[in-house]
Symmetry: C2
Subunit: 438 residues, 2 copies
């Protein structure tokens, strides 16, 4: 159903989902249901090894459901992003309804699945969806593992600056002079971008695919660098991995090797900064130039996410340059609203997500694990303390963005091993109780 919440639009669309049942015990063995987030579901499927690792132990079927408007699940095909009319059905509520209807369909049509307990699992925005799925459809899922889900990064539930101070801390801890070098780099760019020669030098030094032409382009460069540092904080995994980009183990430490001396002259400092970001964008050595319009894998659906950030998913973020290494930037809702209206003809609704999902008042719900990595900036908006006996916070001090959802690895720190053990234990409890009540 393209529109679950209205009857005037009665058309349907094809939602993609992936099923792996080789470990499933046909007699109502559990179903682990990945609540797809803002990207191609095959990519999430390939980056959520935890589910594959536990499938056999739990005798579980794995289902990965693609989120509408991402990957191949486009309600209006190529027209899906053409205007606000076609985008109108891209909301978390519609996505959750898709998931609910899909789970019911699977239980109805797969022999032996009728009474299978279903557990929602997701990371990041998908982790929010997993938590919200349990909150809103507890008759559909017996519990949820919400990994690195910043369900409190809304309204004024948390300070807007924590996110970037966590990023900064990751760099500060990973090498002497590292966060200071980055903090100093902004003014270096500002100096150089004030002249055409400086802009050209920057374009050459950063091996940019399209040269910088003016101050606006320089601002784009700075944004791109900021996002790069944020992304590095998210994927600061303890082993070689390829999530947003192919990277070595503990990539921030590698990056920081180039950023030891914050007191260098502008040009020397920025040459080092280039080395640092080049490691992120060109670890394989295959990139002929660097593209400031892209910071992560193309498997993520940037357009869709931008629309969501312009409507429901309004997450206040800010920097002050003191508690973080970024240029100071206040949180400016009005500017966002104008930009969104210009881009899509829609305006964000700041408090709707709080009205809908309860903000911090969620204690009457049950059976949700909120896991967060101490290195992950998104932990700023996450649940990091138990709310009740059955709303459990799992903290992984050495973990980046949903490390616990990744495959087991010999280099895994003890903290993530323990986190996964607790998660599995709780999931078994939910499954046992569900079976018992049947």
């Amino acid at each position: 159903q393209i529109d679950h919440f209205g009857f005037d639009e009665n058309r349907t669309f094809q939602q993609r989902y992936l099923v792996a049942d080789q470990y499933w015990k046909k007699d109502n063995g559990p179903i682990l249901f990945y609540t797809g987030n803002e990207g191609d579901i095959t990519w999430f499927c390939n980056n959520t090894g935890f589910m594959w690792d536990v499938a056999e132990e739990l005798n579980a079927m794995l289902v990965f459901a693609e989120h509408r408007y991402y990957g191949e699940s486009l309600p209006f095909g190529n027209e899906s992003f053409s205007d606000s009319k076609h985008l109108n059905y891209l909301t978390s509520e519609q996505a959750l309804a898709d998931f609910a209807v899909l789970v019911e369909y699977l239980k109805r049509t797969i022999a032996g699945a009728q009474d299978s307990p279903v557990i929602a699992i997701g990371g990041s925005y998908g982790g929010m969806l997993a938590a919200w799925f349990r909150m809103k459809y507890p008759h559909v899922v017996v519990g949820a593992l919400a990994a690195s889900a910043p369900i409190w990064q809304f309204g004024d539930l948390v300070p807007c600056g924590t996110f970037f101070s966590i990023v900064t801390n990751d760099f500060k801890k990973s090498g002497t002079g590292c966060s200071e070098s980055i903090r100093n780099s902004w003014n270096a760019i500002n100096h150089l971008s004030s002249t055409d020669i400086g802009l050209q030098w920057l374009s050459n030094t950063f091996h940019l695919c399209s040269p910088l032409k003016n101050l606006q382009d320089a601002a784009v460069l700075k944004n791109w660098l900021s996002e790069t540092w944020v992304n590095l904080a998210m994927v600061n995994y303890p082993y070689k991995a390829d999530f947003l980009q192919p990277l070595p183990a503990w990539p921030i430490q590698e990056v920081c090797k180039f950023l030891k001396d914050p007191s260098l002259s502008d040009k020397l400092l920025l040459q080092n900064v280039f080395q640092a970001v080049n490691l992120y964008y060109n670890y394989t050595g295959e990139a002929p130039c660097l593209d400031v319009s892209q910071t992560a894998t193309k498997s993520l659906g940037e357009m869709g996410w931008y629309y969501q950030a312009c409507t429901e998913m309004v997450m206040p973020l800010c920097t002050d340059g003191v508690h973080d290494m970024f240029e100071p930037q206040k949180w400016d809702f009005d500017a966002l609203s104008e930009e969104c209206y210009r881009m899509w003809g829609v305006r964000p609704r700041l408090s709707w997500i709080l009205s809908m999902y309860g903000g911090k008042n969620i204690s009457s719900h049950s059976n949700i694990i909120f896991s967060n990595g101490g290195l992950d900036p998104w932990s700023a908006g996450g649940v990091t303390q138990n709310i009740t006996n059955s709303l459990v916070a799992v903290v992984i001090p050495d973990g980046a963005h949903h490390l616990d959802l990744r495959s087991r690895n010999p280099l895994d720190p003890k903290s993530v091993q323990q986190a996964r053990a607790l998660e599995i234990c709780l999931m078994k409890q939910w499954i046992g109780k569900a079976r018992h009540s049947h």
Copy 2:
């Protein structure tokens, strides 16, 4: 917000709500929030004396919120019912979102209400909304009293025939020959409506405002009679009252005084049936003729409800003429779907309400009282047994449709007095717990 679930339609509308705060304790005294149903809110306000009776004891503020598309809360003014585009926002989900946003607005703007615990109260469809409000927005309301709420009159959760067999029982118990007389009346009408003279006789005998012209009109007459018997079962109160119509105490007993002999000839039988329905439609003696297009107060919004019954609120009902006194009629979803498409250009979705609100799998929710009257046909789809310690069923054997929500009355049976006492006790518990957790 006209559309809570999409951002393309960003207009707002005026929602009417009534507030009574004379008994309210300003220091976060509780709020009893009436979740308005399919009609003018002032009418519900005047027919929900229970809330007025308990306001002082609970130091509570009373709020009566009008349901969108009813009374004066019309999203598009006079255009609201013009077509499926304008009707598109008439759903229970939108109504619940209205209520959530309204409660938050009241708590934010009324001094001393910020931490007021809110209890949802409603009857019939409004009772379903009260229950669903607690299920979907437990962060907004600490509990719900769902009176005569047939939340299971959907899909195949309950047999479709129970509803009419309860109506029949009410008549059977209220006078010898009563339900038999009604059962025999259908064939009597069928015989007479087969000739023009018979149709004329029926029109005269029933004092109809517009005479019957053909078999189709005769079918309308039968439908109208059926609805009349159903309505009588709903308002079979132990004292003189004016809910759907002004009526004497125990109106079915009064009606049955005309229907003692089921073996009379067609004409004599139908003359008695006229006396019976005339009591319902003309107890005050003011009606110059009877109008088969109307069966209840005009305070109910028939158009809106018809649309809802054609979209989300699909309640399967059926008769067999054996376990009930009605003409046999199977439940026919396809016919309904065609009729709805013809009327509004929309098609009902049979299972959506189950996917959304959980059907019978609601045990993970809490703090909901489901009260039902044994005389009320809607108890067929109600929750009449406790589900958990905090999902409590209250049964009132001598009660008709949400008798417990009406004002105290000296003629109240003991059962409803006890029901109200339990309801008040549980509400106090919820309030106490909410206060404690603050």
